[in-house]
Structure formats: C-alpha cells, structure tokens
C-alpha cells in the first residue's frame, strides 16, 4: 500500500507541469527491466570505450574516429548477415546454423573494424607523429577523419538506416523479481564481459601487453629498452578495432535497425564519456564507466518519463562525477601497475 501511495504523492507534485515530471511509480515498476537493458547497453559502451582508453593511454590522443571504426564493423555485420539471408524477421534456422552465421559475422566485423582502425592510424596519425605535430593537430585530424568516413558512408549508402536484421528471437532465460531476462541480454553481457576480462589479462600478462604499458608510461624509455613503439601503437589500434567489431555485432543484435552512416556518433560519444567516467586510460575503468553510463541513462529515462532524457541524465551525471573526481572513478592509469 505504502509503496503505491508514495509514488502517487510524488507524481502529483511535478516540478513543472509540462516538461519535467518524476515518474517514481514507473521507475519502481520498471526498475529491473531498465537495469538489465542498461547493463546490456553498458556492456556495448564498455567494449567501444576500451578502444578510446587504450589509444589514449598509449598516445595521449582521443581517437574521435573510433566511432567510425565501430560503424565499419556494423556494416561488416550487416553485409555478412544480409548475404546469409538474414532480414527483419527472425531467421528460421537451426541453432548451430545461427551460431555459425553469427560467428562468421563476428569475424567479418572484427576484421573490418581492425582494418579501419589501422587505416585511420596509418593515414591520419602516423604522418603527424613522424613530423612531431602538436597535440591539437591530432585532435583536429581525428575529428576530420571521423567526418570523412561518416560522409563517405553517407555518399555510398544514403541517409536511411539499413533494413533491420534480426539475428534470433530472444528467449526468456530466467526471471528476476518478475522481470524476464532474455537470451539476447545474457549473450551480450556475458560475451562482452569475457572479452573485457581477456583484454585486461592480455594487457597485464602478455609480452605485448607489457609493451603497451611501457609505451604508455614513458615512450622514450620504452624505446631504449627495446620496445618497438610503432608496432605497439599499431597493435593498440588493432585491439581497439577488434573490440569495436565485437561491439558492432552486439549492437546490431540489440538494435536491428541501427546500421546507419551516423549510427556510431552518439554511441561513440557515450563510449568516450564512459571511458572518461571510469578514468581514461584505465582498462577496468572503461568497463565500470560503460556499465554506469548505460544504467544511469536508462534509469533517468524511466524516472523522467521520456526517452528524451537518456542522454541528458547520462551526461549530467558525468559532469557531476568529474567535478568530484576529475580523474574518473578509478583514476587514469594505463601505464601504472594496477592496470
């Protein structure tokens, strides 16, 4: 009873009649479903955020073209699955056939994204690095490359989104307080977390990972110690591309009609925000930041009663967190031992 009365009271006292209302009732009703959807999106943001964080850690460069690396992967998924006769309706295929097709799409997306990441690095950043350009030049080039890729896709595919691609019909897996968690959400969250743990372990334990950390800490000393800096930089871009390609598959899985020339832009901004929120340059921070941005945006949307609020809430929280902790929640430290 109480739980019904309180929301009603709160709801009847809106801050402003027409544009801002706190729908606590809807929030309590939809709490679990928005939690799982928020985590699903958060997992995707986190995978993309890793690409920003790794490149920043190594080069102190915000690779604004990373959202286009991601959308390239989405087109990879789109063309692969379209060629395999996937469409807006759920495919009538056996289980292993679907898994096989999705893995194929994943591989194509990873290759497409990694390739695009390497091209961006070669064309846009390497020449500047060799000429010792100031950091501002890198930033502008990054934005320029981002737009160049975006509008090349626009010119090629037109302004409309591609037809929806349904990969499989989500099936209820388990029930949390009356809210169904479906196979799609579980696949995305579990697979994304595994990929992030793998990345984290790779950077902590492998020889290449040590090289990445060394370059992040002090590029000149690392070079003196025999680390091939250029190779490490390319590797970092490739890892970012691989993760973006995987994120692309999950994104299209979650949003079947999301393949569009500018479809990566907002997602890229959010993933970047996630990286900053968690602590830019920090691999675990990207995971935490991604999940937080996903959750906060979804909660805000339900609480304030309209999708228009998702981004407002997510970014206001970002600003507030940065005021208190300018380094992000976990601090920025790819080079330091804790990463």
């Amino acid at each position: 009873m109480i739980s019904e009365v309180i929301p009603t009271l709160l709801h009847s006292v809106p801050v402003d009649d027409t544009w801002i209302t706190f729908d606590v009732n809807s929030f309590t009703q939809n709490f679990w479903s928005s939690t799982f959807d928020g985590l699903t999106f958060g997992a995707i943001y986190a995978l993309v955020a890793l690409g920003y964080t790794l490149v920043y850690g190594v080069l102190n460069l915000i690779n604004f073209a990373h959202s286009e690396v991601f959308i390239t992967g989405c087109y990879g998924v789109f063309f692969t699955l379209s060629a395999l006769n996937f469409g807006p309706s759920a495919p009538r295929l056996g289980f292993w056939a679907i898994v096989g097709n999705l893995i194929l799409a994943l591989v194509v997306a990873i290759i497409a994204s990694a390739l695009m990441a390497v091209i961006v690095e070669r064309v846009a950043y390497k020449p500047l690095r060799q000429r010792k350009a100031p950091r501002l030049a890198f930033l502008i080039t990054a934005i320029g490359v981002s737009f160049a890729i975006q509008y090349t896709i626009y010119w090629w595919r037109g302004p409309s989104p591609e037809a929806a691609l349904t990969m499989f019909r989500p099936l209820a897996i388990f029930d949390v307080f009356g809210t169904i968690v479906d196979s799609q959400q579980v696949v995305i969250i579990v697979a994304a977390v595994i990929l992030m743990i793998a990345t984290d372990q790779f950077i902590r334990r492998s020889r290449t990972g040590r090289g990445i950390r060394a370059v992040a800490q002090d590029p000149d000393t690392a070079t003196l110690m025999g680390v091939n800096k250029e190779k490490i930089i390319v590797t970092t871009f490739i890892i970012g591309g691989i993760l973006a390609g995987a994120a692309a598959l999950f994104y299209v899985m979650k949003i079947p009609s999301g393949v569009q020339y500018n479809g990566g832009f907002i997602l890229g901004v959010k993933a970047f925000a996630a990286a900053v929120l968690g602590g830019i340059g920090n691999v675990r921070g990207a995971l935490l930041g991604g999940l937080l941005i996903g959750l906060i945006g979804n909660y805000g949307q339900v609480l304030l009663g309209s999708s228009q609020w998702t981004d407002v809430v997510a970014f206001v929280v970002l600003v507030l967190v940065l005021i208190v902790r300018p380094e992000g929640v976990l601090g920025s430290s790819l080079g330091k031992s804790k990463a």
């Binding site: 009538r92 056996g94 409309s160 989500p170 579990v190 793998a198 949003i255």
Partner: protein, 409 residues
C-alpha cells in the same frame, strides 16, 4: 600468453553459442512475457472506393494555353529517413502533369522538385529558393507538419499558393496564413477517428499511446489521447532518430496494454514495432498516416503483421484508372498520398488552363475552388481546411497494406 587469449576467445564463442541455444528453432513468440491482448479482431479488406462522377482531371478540355515558362513545384522530402512519403507524392504530381501536358499541346507546364529531406531545419533553404523564382506560380507541399510550420511564412510573404497533400497538424491553419491549403483532413479529425477505431473496431480495452517529438506526432498524440479518455492506460514519448525502444517497451509490457498507438513516422515506428514483437507483445500496433507505408513492412519484417493504420488518405490503388497509370510511371503501386498529390496539382493545373497564370490569380482560384477531385470534394474554408474529409483504416495483410474502409469523418 597468447594461449590465454585464444582460450578466452574460445570461451567467449562457446558462451555465445550456449546462450543462443533454445532461441533458435523458435518461430513463435515466447509465451513467458505476455501482454493483455488476446484474440485479434479480423476486419476484412475492402476492394473498391467510390469515385466522384464529375471529378476534375488534369487533362481538362485540352484547350489550355499558357506561356512555356509556367512552372509548378514540389517541395518536400526526396531523400532523408522518411523519403518514401515524399516520393509517393511527387510521383502522383508528375503523373498529373504528364497527363495535362499530353492533352494540352498549347500549355506545357514545367515541374520542378526541391528536396527538404523532410527536415524543418533544412526546408527553409529550398523554399526560399522557390519563392524567389518568379516562374513558379504554385506549389504542392510541404508534406510534413514540422517543415510546413517552418516555411509557411515564407510562402505567405511572397503570396505563393501552396497545397499540402499530407501535413496534418491542426495548428497549421491557425497561423493566419492565406496561402496555405490542406488537401486532406487534419489530426483534429484523425485523432478522434483513430480513438474510435481503436476502441470500437479493434475492441481495444487498454491502449498505450506513444508519440514522437515532431509537430506531427505531438499534435496527433494530443488529439488521440483526449479522445481515448479512460481507454488509455499510459503514454510515452520517443525522439526522432531513436533506435532503441526497450525502456518504452518494458513500460508497455508492465501496463498490460492490448494495443499500442504510435503517433509518428515509420522511420521510428518500424523498429519500434519490430522490437515490441521481439519482446513478446501479442496485441495490435496502430499507426497513423506517417507510419502507413510499405517501408514500414520492409523495415519491420514479420512483426508488421500486427499493424493497422489510420489515415486521412484515400486508397488510390483502388481507383483503377489512377492505379494503372501510376504504375506505368512509377513502376510501383500508388502509395500513401499519391492521389492527394495528384488531386492537389490538378486543382492548380485546372486554374492555369483557365488563364490564372500569375501567383495572385492562381491563389484566388484555389480560394474559391469548389469541385470534385478523384479522391474527394475540394472546397476550402477561409483558413485553408477542407469541409468534410474522410479518415480511412488500413491493415497489413500478407505483407501488404490493404484498406479496410472509412473509419471516421
């Protein structure tokens, strides 16, 4: 160290595989997440509409004469996310102009198209260009409400008559514009008709209303929700360009709604319906004229079979003479508002044939116009609204949109 990565990758793939398990082979919606909706009402399709006997046709009497510079224009979407709605219209216009020019050797009217992408922010440029070309004496457009609102003043200042074949926001005729005419019913007519259709014909008990952030969606959402009254169990807003509807969908599921009415365009409506059905919604999805297009079916796939549409548009495909000619020109069936575009430009063409060949003359011609077109009777009041427009219902049947008759006036 590389082995670790490989192992993780395999683990990831295996998990992915494991979890898709059981999702495959599933062709029916999972019954776990149910909505209140049960049996869906079957409303049969209609196969013919009445055409006014004395309808004015573009050909006229074949004796029209006019200077070779006489130009009519279309302003509206040719590209953009909702381009198909514009393409339907200018193909209808093109057909009428072709028929007119073929029948009237002494009057070859030029036709120019200006692309607005359907975007209010982009529409002012092309419209400014139109009004500055003195040869253009009449315009059909703009198709959408937001862009019409943004450009009405530009037409007004230059006294250029323009007939919208499809913008339905009621407030458009309340700006005191004297050059704006609407060739169909507005949403003050469509909203209540839609509400009546939902509760009477579809027997909806719990309607969830979702509107987008366009002038059109907001206007239609307002008139529909007012008319729905207590049958509406909840409402929500989405934004143009939105791709993920999971939050709205969980609210709909929790409200146990049996029917969803979406006030907006197909670019968002199609993925919305697709995601709604994927989450196990079994009720009906009803959209207005902005959603009623074959693109909706193309984008939403099988999910679209639960869709109905309300539309102040006449099913042009059921008028055989129009349908066959349109098909020859556009290589496609007439779409939503093809016939309204055709009728609207016919009003202008008949004026030109009668010697109304300046902007001022053509404007006063439209003002005092009182005759039948193929789709309905055209006579405007002083604000530019038609007297008695019809609203039609449509549904998706075997992957095609078919009319189910008049649902309101």
């Amino acid at each position: 160290m590389y082995r670790k990565k490989v192992i993780s990758a395999i683990a990831a793939a295996a998990t992915l595989g494991m979890l898709v398990a059981g999702c495959a082979n599933q062709t029916a919606p999972s019954g776990t997440e149910t909505s209140g909706g049960g049996s869906r009402v079957n409303i049969p399709a209609i196969s013919k509409v009445d055409v006014p006997a004395g309808a004015v046709l573009p050909a006229g009497d074949g004796k029209g004469t006019c200077p070779s510079t006489t130009t009519l224009a279309y302003a509206g979407a040719e590209t953009g996310p909702n381009a198909q709605l514009g393409i339907n219209i200018f193909n209808g216009i093109q057909l009428a102009i072709n028929q007119h020019n073929a029948a009237n050797p002494g009057c070859q009217v030029q036709f120019k198209k200006f692309d607005t992408e359907g975007d209010p922010n982009k529409a002012t440029g092309p419209v400014t260009q139109i009004v500055s070309e003195p040869d253009i004496i009449g315009v059909v457009g703009l198709p959408f409400s937001g862009e019409s609102k943004a450009t009405g003043n530009i037409f007004e200042q230059k006294g250029l008559v323009h007939i919208t074949p499809s913008a339905t926001n009621p407030s458009l005729t309340k700006n005191g514009w004297t050059t704006f005419f609407r060739a169909l019913g507005n949403d003050a007519v469509q909203g209540p008709a839609a509400a009546k259709f939902l509760t009477d014909k579809l027997q909806a008990k719990k309607v969830y209303l979702v509107q987008d952030d366009s002038d059109y969606g907001i206007g239609l959402g307002t008139t529909t929700s007012a008319a729905l009254g207590s049958a509406m169990v909840g409402s929500d807003k989405v934004v143009t360009g939105q791709k993920d509807f999971s939050a709205v969908i969980s609210k709909i599921m929790n409200s146990k709604a049996d029917t969803v009415y979406y006030a907006g365009y197909y670019a968002e409506g199609a993925p919305f319906d697709q995601q709604l059905v994927a989450k196990g919604f079994t009720g009906s999805f009803v959209g207005p004229d902005g959603v009623k297009d074959d693109q909706f079916i193309k984008l939403a796939g099988d999910a679209s079979s639960n869709a109905y549409f309300t539309c102040p548009c006449i099913p042009g495909e059921l008028i055989p003479s129009f349908e066959s000619e349109y098909k020859k020109l556009a290589n496609a069936e007439p779409g939503t508002y093809s016939i309204e575009g055709y009728d609207a430009v016919t009003v202008l063409l008949s004026g030109i044939d009668k010697g109304k060949q300046s902007r001022a003359d053509l404007l006063s011609w439209v003002k005092s116009y009182d005759a039948d077109g193929l789709s309905k009777h055209y006579k405007w009041d002083s604000t530019g609204e038609l007297a008695t427009p019809d609203v039609y219902g449509y549904k998706v049947e075997n992957g095609k949109i078919v009319p189910i008759g008049v649902i309101g006036k």
